[in-house]
Amino acid sequence: MTNRPDPPALLEAIARFLLEEVQPQVSDRRVSFRLLIAASLATTVAAELRSGEDRALGELRRWQDLLPGVESGDAGGMSPAERARATRALEAEFLSRLRAGRLSRDELRKARAQVRESLVESLRWLNPHFDTSEEIE
């Protein structure tokens, strides 16, 4: 079955229409501002959809790395639904250990670094202009 234009392309078309054709005709400042927000959200979701598979795989592998003793299967061989389930299960296990104070200082440091890596990946499509460098004061 053909799926062209695909969902991200449709969202980008909606964003373009809102920005180029609708927004210039709107004089109400409140509505005009929300049109910009709507276009930006559509663009963001398009980018999120495009990066979906790679991001989900990276996310699962990071949790597996953080919890090496927990059996969760072969990330590469899973369907998207299986991958999402495995990720949620590992996340729940991690949070239970964290809340119970069962993580050492080293494990906490490693967890912070891994979670930050996930956030950086999300920020690439959520806000490509967001500066993730370490040098910021």
Binding site: L41, F94, R112, A113, L119, L123, F130, D131, I136
Partner: protein, 340 residues
Amino acid sequence: MTEGLQERIERDLSVRTGGPVAVRAIERLAGGACQELFRVDLEISCGERAGARRMVLRSDAVRRLPGSLDRRDEYRVIELARAAGVPTPPARWVSSGLVREGAWAYFMDWVDGEAIGRRVVKRPELAAARERLPLQLASALARVHSLSPGSAPGLALAGAEGEKAPARTALDFLVGALERLPEPRPALELVLRWLLDEAPAREERTLVHGDFRTGNFMVGPEGLRAVLDWEFAHFGNPMEDLAWMCVRDWRFGELDKPAGGLTRREPFYEAYERSSGRAVRRDEVRWWEVFGNARWAAGSILQGERYLSGEETDLELVAIARRAVEMEFEALRIAEGARP
């Protein structure tokens, strides 16, 4: 517009000023989440305020955010802050039921100028103001922090002596916010763990503005005109205000100027130390900055929930919720930098 408001204002102020008062114009302004604002042009015939006066009427809104004051307590805070020399407009004529049954309200003198954060940090005509603002703000903050539970015994605010330590209160607030989130957020839970492990042991307790940041000051070409928005005032650790001023979101894109998008940290801290005579405890500021980012992240997710629950329909709420990742990243970044 609230029905009969004009007549109620005229009646109430005529009694208070001792002569006829006419409302020439009244317009609802975009308010905060926990207050309603009106611009009111008055013609006052008697008393010290006789003449044509433009004022802001601030009333309690229907809903109230956790940790926010009602207008009666806010009015008292402003009176004390002014007595301590903080540049903030006088609040007058506090009353209940003026705008709505059971809602406290007061009038505040109108101050012209620019308060929108991104304009304050970027507009060319405010360049000279930006030179002066760090010192002026440090001095204003020192005056806020000159008040303590002991020096303002009539002020019944959260965080008074005998209550939990400020950091403990903040942590309880954050735990409560995380419990209300619809889905667990590993980043915020890691930040919470760090905050629990690193909480300051002993803290000073003063009046804290609670929302001291670019966007809540009225600015003119000459610099600071007024400190505004006292609804989150409480007694707590003065370092909380210094940290909130430096939270990344309040830099409005001027990342290399952590103090409100106006200057680097050290000149601001040093100006505060000179004005207040109090040492800025850099570790504590860092702790409160991590907390500030975490609080803001949790708050923005909960704003999105107001939309998703059907309670409100403003698209901006869902967009704000999507930005929580930025604050989560920043909280972890600062926490990591604090303990290599």
